[in-house]
């Protein structure tokens, strides 16, 4: 079997976090273990409003397949989702709805603004479009593009995976996170 064929058949397992390993044991910090678990099981809430939503369909399709990153299970209710993917234009009329969905998500939660419209209002600098969703909710990763190619959306998801992987367990109780919430009046 040729070299790369062997490469392909060996299933790629998520590489273990740093830690001390010896004769038959492996010790790592608890935080890294939890981070590894969170990183590879992000359940996305596809808040797909317009054209980026169709590009997300292509990302979920068999060709680009978001399931390779552990985000197979889409949850349309904020209760069981960790990742809010806002894809497409968000109008001002949609602002309160987006905010309500964000607030009702369980901690820890992350937000990706996919596409130029979600990140900054994109080409629609008009009276009815909200110029970027970070006016209503805090955003972790912005994916440029109009619409971004599925590879870009997957790149955004991998950035979120890094964030989730190395996030300290005490971040959500830290003062800096509280100020962020205060800034968005999320009690």
């Amino acid at each position: 079997m040729s070299e790369n064929q062997k490469q392909i058949d060996k299933p790629t397992v998520a590489e273990p976090p740093e830690g001390v390993s010896g004769q038959g044991f492996f010790a790592t910090s608890f935080e890294k273990a939890v981070g590894l678990a969170r990183k590879n099981s992000l359940w996305p809430l596809p808040f797909a409003t317009s054209c980026c939503g169709i590009e997300f369909m292509a990302t979920m399709g068999a060709h680009y397949d978001l399931a390779r990153f552990g985000s197979e299970r889409l949850s349309f209710s904020p209760r069981q989702s960790d990742l809010l993917m806002v894809m497409g234009t968000v109008a001002k009329k949609m602002g309160p709805v987006l905010r309500e969905v964000y607030i009702q998500m369980a901690e820890p939660k992350w937000v990706i603004a996919v596409g130029a419209c979600a990140s900054s209002g994109g080409i629609f600098d008009t009276y009815s479009v909200m110029q970027g969703i970070d006016r209503v909710i805090p955003v972790d990763v912005y994916v440029p593009g109009c619409p971004p190619r599925p590879e870009q959306i997957i790149d955004g998801l991998m950035k979120i995976q890094e964030l989730a992987g190395n996030e300290s367990l005490r971040r959500r109780h830290s003062q800096e996170y509280e100020d962020l919430m205060k800034k968005y009046e999320i009690e």
């Binding site: 001002k92 009329k93 209002g121 600098d125 008009t126 009276y127 009815s128 479009v129 110029q131």
Partner: protein, 169 residues
């Protein structure tokens, strides 16, 4: 190009004129479609006549949209009708003064006009009396002014990074 059938256009115009007289202000062939300007008071009867008359049978309301003529201080409505039977398309235009922009509704003639009129009201502030529920359809409900009028600015006013100095305005 749509098929231009001169005798059909003549028929429509002549029938309308002897039915409504000088309420039909003008009619001309613009590019490939007969365009008739009708005064505001008879618009409802003209549309009903065009739909029910045997030779006309304009049974399909293709679209309805508002217009704003700032220099003439007028608000207008443009109806596009299409007769499937004899494949004939015409355009009906009416206009009114900007102070009391009230028209008779076309919803009773074609139910398709319901949302089109709500959108025209939402954009231009044109009131359609007799409309079942004339409420904003696309914009925020608590929006007071009418965005599609020429003097309303396009850009979002809450943006502070796009000041005019950058655009040389």
């Amino acid at each position: 190009m749509f098929p231009i059938i001169p005798e059909r256009n003549q028929l429509v115009v002549s029938k309308l004129i002897d039915q409504f007289g000088d309420a039909i202000e003008s009619h001309e062939l613009l590019k490939d479609m007969l365009c008739i300007t009708v005064s505001k008071e008879v618009i409802h009867e003209v549309l009903l006549f065009l739909r029910d008359e045997k030779e006309m049978q304009f049974n399909f309301l293709t679209t309805l949209c508002g217009m704003h003529y700032p220099e003439k201080e007028q608000l207008g409505v443009v109806y596009h009708l299409h007769s499937f039977v004899n494949n004939h398309r015409i355009r009906i235009k009416t206009a009114t003064d900007i102070k009391n922009p009230v028209f008779a509704t076309a919803t009773t003639i074609w139910p398709a006009a319901n949302w089109m009129e709500r959108e025209t009201y939402d954009f231009y502030g044109i009131l359609f009396e007799g409309h079942p529920n004339l409420v904003r359809i696309l914009n925020m409900d608590d929006m007071t002014d009418f965005p599609m009028r020429k003097e309303f600015p396009l850009e979002d006013q809450t943006r502070e990074d796009k000041d005019d100095s950058m655009f040389g305005r």
